[in-house]
Subunit: 325 residues, 2 copies
């Protein structure tokens, strides 16, 4: 047993390395968040500075905790990353993380075993164990924010694939030769369904739509579209209906590809779940093959913390079954 | 132990229920086909007649085999089917198989335990154990014929999902609001990449392309296109390049979705693997995210028998590990 790794220890620390925030939480085996800390990511400063940020938030939530109580530290980061070797392959939104051995660097810096996981998979795990996926054997977690990501639980196990890179669901093609995606490919689901894509459509169309509150000249974001929709704005209603339809197209594919019992929607756009749900459900009802139509589509229960809690809970997972508490 | 179920028995029978042929094979634990039988499917005659056909081909390959030598019978059939309950939910190409308890009916008729599996998953299993997927932990099997189907091995296990319906990869959308698919949805990969779709494009374009051997008025099938391509026919070369590009679009999505080490191409179009490979590989090289580009793309090794052999080998799988030979 490595120094600091305590089988059966009741607590774990989760860290979420995001493009805008670096966050940490201390959780117990029931998934309860006991303490949290966050700081704005120094996204342009390079890995050394960001590593210091990760250590700082982890240190804050771990302060005063007896080492014997801590099972370990789990880190969620944007993919693609190789969770088998703990190496980040590249993070578009944070400078310098190219082929970067993040798990190794943090393990040595924190003198505690660190496990690295793709943030979509970590969030799927969090929702499965403690959120909207509890009691299911098969689920797909979809996060829709600036991009689209996700993670899959199938047959009662986390689906990992080679290098742990399965589940990059935002990068399936839904429009052949379509819009350019941040990944370099064309027509990805993310390029049409992300909050970023929705905001871009809103911005473009507000210039010609008469009488919309999404007026020309102001910056329109996804939240602004949903706010305007609730006020009855006609353009906003059209934009929300189209967004729901685009999400429905991808979700129908996911049903056929993974056959989940439940699709869990997380990320920034999950705040607008009630506005999006009818359009998604009606697309599933008409486009999915009949045997797949009764899968449930629900909102994430842990909202912004699915990945953070899931990352922490991985550490409990890593404990050999024979010595498990 | 049910009558006829012999743990550790050295032989198994596989049956493949296809739209054009009903086939059976006797295999040993090394996947070697010892005996085979086939008959044209009475696709319009209804389940009772087809059940008799299944029993006839199974009886033929099992003739003279001592019951103690037979581990069981595995059946592969077109999906969607519920492999947990052994119920076929609907086969578009064979009349009367709607919510049909095929495993139960065959078990009672043959007095031998029968296991039912989606034909794409059975073929993936066959290739994994005895074909092009040997030694891999993560693979995607893609069959391209009249339709597109498949099956996934991930993390060293068969990916099943709810009701065992995971892996309906032909029915992911690649063109939103695109061409109508046999499943009722629009824009499915199958509607663009199947041999049927290729033949339809050939038929349509041959009417206006000057000097093609794919002359107007004759029926053109996928095989005819590849034959003409080998002869240097210009239209045929364009059609093959486009088919490779369409297959490449879907395969890139599959890499991102499942992160396999290898993609195995089977089905009728696998005969034209050498003609299609360069176009598929170049699309993967430019469109897949860098971390996914080194996955191998290979031709199925068991050609037309992947599903038959995979279905038979399931029976060995079903034997409890503790009593395994």
């Amino acid at each position: 047993v490595s120094a600091g790794q305590q089988h059966g220890a009741p607590l774990a620390i989760g860290i979420d390395l995001g493009g805008s925030q670096v966050r940490a939480a201390l959780i117990d085996r029931a998934g309860k968040v006991l303490k949290r800390s966050a700081v704005a990511t120094e996204a342009a400063a390079g890995p050394d500075i960001v590593i210091e940020q990760l250590c700082a938030v982890a240190g804050e939530v771990g302060e005063g905790i007896d080492r014997s109580q801590l099972a370990g530290i789990g880190v969620a980061a944007p993919g693609p990353l190789d969770s088998e070797t703990g190496v980040v392959l590249g993070i578009p939104t944070i400078a310098g993380f190219v082929d970067f051995p993040l798990a190794e660097r943090l393990t040595s810096r924190l003198a505690t075993p660190v496990t690295l996981e793709n943030d979509g998979i970590a969030a799927a795990l969090g929702e499965w164990r403690f959120g909207a996926g509890q009691g299911h054997k098969h689920l797909v977690y979809v996060t829709v924010s600036t991009g689209i990501g996700g993670g899959i639980i199938s047959d009662g196990r986390v689906l990992r694939g080679r290098k742990g890179m399965a589940g990059h669901i935002g990068h399936m093609t839904i429009v052949r030769d379509g819009a350019l995606c941040a990944c370099g490919n064309r027509g990805c689901w993310e390029a049409y369904g992300s909050g970023t894509a929705l905001a871009q459509r809103a911005q473009a169309r507000s210039k010609t739509a008469p009488g919309t509150v999404l007026a020309d000249g102001r910056i329109v974001d996804a939240r602004g579209v949903f706010d305007a929709e609730r006020l009855g704005d006609r353009l906003a209603r059209e934009l929300v209906a189209e967004e729901a339809s685009i999400l429905g197209v991808g979700i129908v594919s996911l049903l056929h590809l993974y056959s989940p019992e439940v699709v869990i929607l997380g990320g920034g756009l999950a705040h607008a779940f009630d506005a999006l749900y009818p359009g998604i459900a009606s697309h599933v009802a008409e486009a999915a093959m009949p045997a797949f139509r009764d899968a449930a589509i629900v909102r994430a229960a842990l909202t912004g913390n699915s990945g953070l809690i899931g990352a922490a809970s991985m550490v409990f997972d890593a404990v050999p079954a024979t010595t498990r508490a």
